[in-house]
Amino acid sequence: MSTTATAVEGEHHHHGPAKGIGRWLFATNHKDIGTMYLWTALAMFFLGGAFAMVIRMELFQPGLQLVNPDWFNRMFTMHGLVMVFGAIMPAWVGFANWQIPLMIGAPDMAMPRMNLLSYWLLPVALLVLVSTFFMEGNAPAFGWTFYAPLSTTFAPDTADFFIFGVHLLGISSIMGAINVIATIVNLRAPGMTLMKMPMFVWTWLITAFLLIAVMPVLAGVVTMMLTDRNFGTAFFDASGGGDPLMFQHIFWFFGHPEVYIMILPSFGVVSQILPTFARKPLFGYASMVYATGAIAFLSFIVWGHHMFATGLPLAGELYFMYATMLIAVPTGVKIFNWAATMWRGSMTFEAPMLFSIAFVFLFTIGGLTGLMMAMGPADMQYHSTYFIVAHFHYTLVPGAVFALMAGTYYWLPIWCGRMYDEKLAKIHFWLSAISVNVLFFPQHFVGLAGMPRRVPDYPLQFADFNMIISIGGFVYGLSQLMFVYIVVKAIRSGKPTPDQVWEGAKGLEWELPNPLPFHTHTTPPRVD
């Protein structure tokens, strides 16, 4: 079949976008579905952010000023749930939808209709979750980890709505992940062997595997919760022969891979961006791939480090301690590779690069505090203090969220065919990078000094640091509004994307015409 014939036939077969709301409600196009994922995630980022603002306002001063302790509990619970399940995970699925077909030369995701089902389950599940605010008993207040018996014996009726919300989110994630794997395994352009795939695609392939492996476990544990709450079973009740700690084991078997689900695609994005702006190929591509695989494998066998303070048997503590420290090895490989990629590169510092470099530095801080907590005896001191809050926020905010920002600025010129305002984006970066450290760095200090997490009030000696932390939080929160402004401005009135967006960018996604046609790669490109 000649190229011309294919093109004509392609035009005949491949329709443009539908008109009106139907384009979105009934979309099967990976770009439209990716766009919906991204906007939903952004909306949830601000909802979860609003909860965080309430938390920081309450903690601005000692004493109770804004909300009562119950509301405070609801706020940090919903903050965690909305950010994890509503913002970061869907944002990465949005990236996967947009980028994977473009980067591997596929015309779309492998199963476009299931793709749409994965998307629509997300907003309805979030609606079920958030609707608890308007019910008797109010929203869940047991923390995003919903430990039994807080979530079973002592939770309000609304916990059952939370459970079903989690079920729906799980179905959505599993189908999304199956789609990603099928796309990557089956729809790569001829010549694109596995070890020629872009790092972002590799990290998502492994992320998808993690999702399929652990989301069903989460579904299992919330199902046990459901029957414990409503049908008299004894899974998490010692008086019936069960064990509340069993909840934590099953939950963290899901929960630990889950944190890599949120961070592995970040690694992928940063591994795309650093080579572009350093104008050098990624250092140690193969070792990056193997390190990602190693991290994914280790993530399944270290869950007990979340439970050092629960009285695990000594052998268990030792095992989980050593296994956890092993993760530092592949993670270190990645960080050194990123540093080596930048070494002696002709670097320029556009917004995606700034966010990526900040990611490398700040994620490393989060990684190193993780290593500190991996040591069981030391963890007894840090456990359930603000130190852990600082740790995981360093991995998730200047980690995952910065990578999301970097990726958005990097690929936005492809997505909407227009450039964003580089000057504003740089201001957005510096405001975010400074405020995020004002927000989270002092949390290490208050944590080491003994301030527990999840408290609405605290002793006087923590007052100064908490005020600083809150100010950092407000600045960080407000500066994210700039991000929305920059994106909307780019879409509405940005300069058209030039033929060469970034000087050093390589890959199939940069070879497509601008503005992007509704269907791309209708005939697969050849990769050599």
């Binding site: 392609g10 491949h14 099967t28 079920v128 089956n186 476990v217 299992g220």
Partner: protein, 291 residues
């Protein structure tokens, strides 16, 4: 351009996914409402369930029409296979959560409650009479739980059920062979036998539940044994039910003349699923009923 190697079928806009998402959410939302005595709950649940069921029916019918129209390329077929394989892996992990709980309880929790390890004082202070047995007749505390009078033995109905499921795996493979050698009769007979065996399994399982509840007073409420027993065999039963439904669809399609020796992903997908359900049962049989 369907069918051509190196091109891919991108479907038109579709209404079903959004409908199905709303239907599923309404089903679960209604269920949660009805759990807390809201009278509208069961109505919402049934309406949602009906929407979901009809949507799935329409969706599957659409996919089958496409398949019969020859729209599915070899690449699409691979996509379906990859998808089904990973879906079954997700199911494996769902059961893994429950098997994990089973082994954790039997190997660690019960001995600990009986004072093993560093738990001597816990044992003394909480339930000094508890011996840590894996049995619904012994529960640490009868406060909130009702002990059963016996356990479900392996060598009655469960052993028969094991034989039934193993045989059904064989009849299904025999049907598959029939498809390969273009013997419609063997295909249809084999599938019909498989469906029948699956149905008999379900009937026996329901009877076994009735026996356990009536004569052994074994319920959800019989401590951890009852919890694990009913949830694990119950979820397995739910999967058998789904498997039988899917087998029935395949049977009807075989009677209608669908499937060729080269082109029968739906048959293989269902067969994989059925064998998976089979294997889960074998592990259940060993660790729930037998040892």
């Amino acid at each position: 351009m369907s069918g051509a190697e190196g091109s891919y079928y991108v479907p038109e806009e579709t209404r079903q996914p959004a409908l199905l998402a709303v239907g599923l959410a309404a089903t679960l939302f209604g269920f949660a409402l009805s759990l807390h005595g809201n009278s509208a709950g069961s109505m919402i649940m049934m309406a949602g369930g009906a929407v979901a069921a009809v949507t799935i029916w329409m969706w599957m019918a659409h996919v089958i029409r496409e398949s019969e129209a020859g729209l599915n390329s070899a690449q699409m077929d691979r996509t379906y296979r990859i998808g089904m394989g990973w879906f079954i892996f997700s199911e494996v992990m769902f059961f893994a959560a429950f098997f994990g709980a089973l082994f954790y309880v039997r190997v660690l929790v019960l001995p600990w409650l009986a004072g093993e390890g560093n738990n001597a004082m816990t044992h003394q202070l909480l339930w000094p009479l508890f011996e840590g047995l894996w049995s619904p007749t012994w529960i640490p505390s009868t406060e909130g739980f009702v002990a059963a009078t016996g356990t479900v033995g392996a060598w009655g109905v469960p052993a028969i059920n094991t034989a039934l499921l193993l045989t059904s795996g064989a009849t299904l493979t025999w049907a598959h062979w029939g498809l390969f050698k273009k013997s419609r009769v063997q295909l249809i007979t084999g599938l019909a036998l498989t469906v029948a065996l699956g149905c008999v399994f379900m009937v026996l399982q329901v009877q076994e539940y009735g026996h356990a509840m009536e004569h052994l007073s074994l319920t959800f409420n019989s401590g951890i044994y009852g919890s694990l027993f009913y949830l694990m065999t119950g979820f397995h039963g739910a999967h058998v039910t789904l498997g039988v439904l899917m087998l029935t669809v395949i049977l009807v399609r075989s009677i209608m003349g669908h499937f060729t020796p080269e082109h029968h992903f739906a048959f293989e997908g269902v067969a994989w699923y059925w064998h998976f359900v089979d294997v889960v049962w074998l592990i259940l049989f060993v660790f729930i009923y037998w040892v």
